[in-house]
Symmetry: C2
């Protein structure tokens, strides 16, 4: 039961499912995900660490920035996750996130990460 359950549980949360889907085209910096998901840095960080524990995403540090991206999947996992991607393509929230992410990525680094200075 271990691995499939672990994988499914990791995706069984709105924030984590949206984050995972947002990483389909490529890696993102945490600050972009914070802005996209509209949660505190601590919360987003914790969700991503959960996805990481499940082996669904990886991350690399580049100076101060932490980039998260999908892991490589194989076998039945890959097929399951691929099918889930297709299920999510039609979803309203996912499409809203896509638009939102486009706007976010047009911003500069200075405009982003405002979340740390906001108060």
């Amino acid at each position: 039961m271990k691995q499939p359950l672990h994988t499914v549980r990791a995706l069984a949360d709105e924030i984590r499912m949206r984050a995972w889907k947002a990483l389909e085209p490529g890696e993102l910096c945490l600050c972009e995900l914070i802005e996209l998901l509209d949660r505190s840095p601590a919360t987003v960080s914790k969700h991503l660490s959960l996805l990481r524990q499940a082996g669904l995403i990886e991350y690399r540090k580049e100076g101060r920035w932490h980039y998260y991206g999908r892991a490589k999947y194989a076998g039945a996992s890959a097929r399951m996750l691929g099918a889930l991607d297709r299920m999510l393509d039609g979803d309203d929230a996912v499409r809203a996130d896509k638009k939102h992410l486009n706007r976010i990525q047009r911003k500069s680094r200075e405009e982003l990460c405002q979340c740390y200075r906001k108060k």
Copy 2:
């Protein structure tokens, strides 16, 4: 986000994932699932009602017995659930359940459903 999340959440529990997998070959009576999953009737019934709300299983009544079986899936859902089935095939707990279920199904109706008389 609605449907895919609903589906994934329904499966994000050990008992429900085992129940769902146990229904792959065909429908089962609740008392068989109670014996298999080793939980109280109330607990098993509630888990199955959750799977039903997610559209993953259906049930029909035949006299006093309630038979649960998988729903028909289509499109990306079908592919996702099919891949999940393959992921689960290798799992130890799933294989133990298969053996256990074989033994359970050799029992008569009178031997089964002892769970209601046990105390």
